[in-house]
Symmetry: C2
Subunit: 359 residues, 2 copies
Amino acid sequence: MNLSERKKVILRTVVEQYVQTVEPVGSKTVAAELSSSISSATIRNEMAELEALGLLEQPHTSAGRIPSALGYRVYVNELMRRQKISTDDAQVINSALQNNRAGEGLVSRAGALVSRLTTYPAYAMASVTGVTTIARFDFIFIDSHTFIIVTLLNNDSVKNKLIHLTTPVDPHLLTKLASIFNASFTGISEERITSSLIAATERAVGDTVGIVAVIAGFTIELLCEAKATAAEVTGTMNLLNHPEYRDIDKAQRLISYLSDNTELARLPSPESSGEIKITIGPENLANELRDSSVITVRYDVGDEMQGIIGIVGPTRMEYSKVAARLSYIAQGLSTLLASGDKLQLNPEGKNKLGDDDIG
Amino acid sequence: MNLSERKKVILRTVVEQYVQTVEPVGSKTVAAELSSSISSATIRNEMAELEALGLLEQPHTSAGRIPSALGYRVYVNELMRRQKISTDDAQVINSALQNNRAGEGLVSRAGALVSRLTTYPAYAMASVTGVTTIARFDFIFIDSHTFIIVTLLNNDSVKNKLIHLTTPVDPHLLTKLASIFNASFTGISEERITSSLIAATERAVGDTVGIVAVIAGFTIELLCEAKATAAEVTGTMNLLNHPEYRDIDKAQRLISYLSDNTELARLPSPESSGEIKITIGPENLANELRDSSVITVRYDVGDEMQGIIGIVGPTRMEYSKVAARLSYIAQGLSTLLASGDKLQLNPEGKNKLGDDDIG
DNA sequence: GTTTAGCACTCGGCAGCCGAGAGTGCTAAA
DNA sequence: TTTAGCACTCTCGGCTGCCGAGTGCTAAAC
């Protein structure tokens, strides 16, 4: 969009003013805001032209102007001043991320953090690009009818399950099962656990009671679970704080849309790591988002895993502020998750309990 | 409260009518509803007396009457007709509970179920009355710097953790650790894991790198976790469907109150298993609940565990309906959790994968 | 040609008013 | 004790008219 310098300044002022006050901004306000020597009349003319270009809109005659979706787009692309994150915010984010040991809940807690910091609903999802497989099986014998399955996945997470049986097992059988499962079921993806593989294993062990099937079933369950990319929304209630969602029905429509995890997975996502993607109002494919904006940022952890974290809010959003925070958090997540959790032991054996370096 | 039979009938009619229509009910409506041969004038007199007794209220002159909190209380205690759960509902509940294998998420899913069925926000919490201890430790050697801690708790759940070390370990050390931990750390509560116990253990193993402390730390973490009674709220959005929460600020106040887990734990709870407790409006201690009602029901699982599941809604609630559903679900939870998860193996070894009897 | 001051015009929002309708309490009769 | 009748009260929705903010246009100034 090729605009005169003055039009740019005016458009920027209108956007930033409107974002703050939530009220149509008039020529006089712009003039006051600019405090340069342009009169309101001139600005009126310029604003009329900006409206003709489709960048501004008038709710009705004799109201001020508000930015159109296109106006926001131009603002985001060309006029927005990149904002640095404040040191206060950085500190809050850092400490919040540090306190959370890396683990299952980290990503969703990051979502909650974003939501709290931006006062918009946030969603977070993590997906694993590589194939998940089992690296190792162990069976722990408890008593004649009970044992524990412990599996180590190739992504270093451990899953277990306690199995109670009505038929007896003995430690030898478990040892045998372990060696066979470690030989045949490790390093393969879920699809390759076929019924013929299971049947063959049953024959090899001489299993007539279905214990192999139980273990195989657990394995499949695990691998399927790992494949599903969990998405989560937090802070949906934040929506209610913003005047554009004062209309309960409107708010509810959006909230119920966001609560649907399958829909969530379809939200716009950036192409490369660290990139921020801003989708404004009608640019969204989903009808429910037609008058909301979505900002997402992607973070990668090695080549294996990638995640998306984003927020949904009214088109009238503090784009630069939100984007800055979002990208800072994404960076933090990236490094935190990449650093892994190698445990540094204190050679004097003086690790205090509850220290953060435990785990 | 000693009321004439006629007053009782009138009070009941007013409550039930108001619950349905959300509008003050007038003498004429009551007369029509009763279709007995009492005239509206008589009913007016009776209603005036009921108001004098504090059971009914008038939003303003020339509006009908609505029940006061006390009115609801009398209704719930004396006038409410116990409602049977419909077979449809029973089916929905049964299938929803059956599909959920017993496990971590069962209780909170039950909460979600309640919320869906009642259209009110529901909360669920489970607490363990007995003392949680570790029944058994196992350490699985992975490689020279890696091993897995597997612990079996006395409540039959299994927890694990993968430990990466910067100093090497060998299988013999792990065996030694296992026997010592099984000897000294099993069957004791979290408070009894003292630093002197840890120090003694370190001496016994000859640990100079703090590996004992790591394992002990994990143990303590586990036991503390088990002690915390998790509470969870679901379906808070349901509030918005009810006219009394059309006022966004009001709804938000309540929602943010409900989101606070520590507050949640303080909600009224029944004294004995299966009992239903109904707390109406100002009977609630918390100011935020002053114009809402809370219905809770308690379920016990053996002597070990007990849980509470309840809903929060406007004082204008279908008490009997909600209570019926709630108690049905509580019963279901009770039996489902008590039945445990003993695994029935098919003696022909034909267990189909994904069958519900796996796990 | 561009900018600016001035002015008439438009339109939403708000306060005030009015009438309709619902429901009451009181009185007097059954 | 119950009931019919009636005057009274109060809310709600619609209508009106005023106010102010902001505009577009015109004509003068730069």
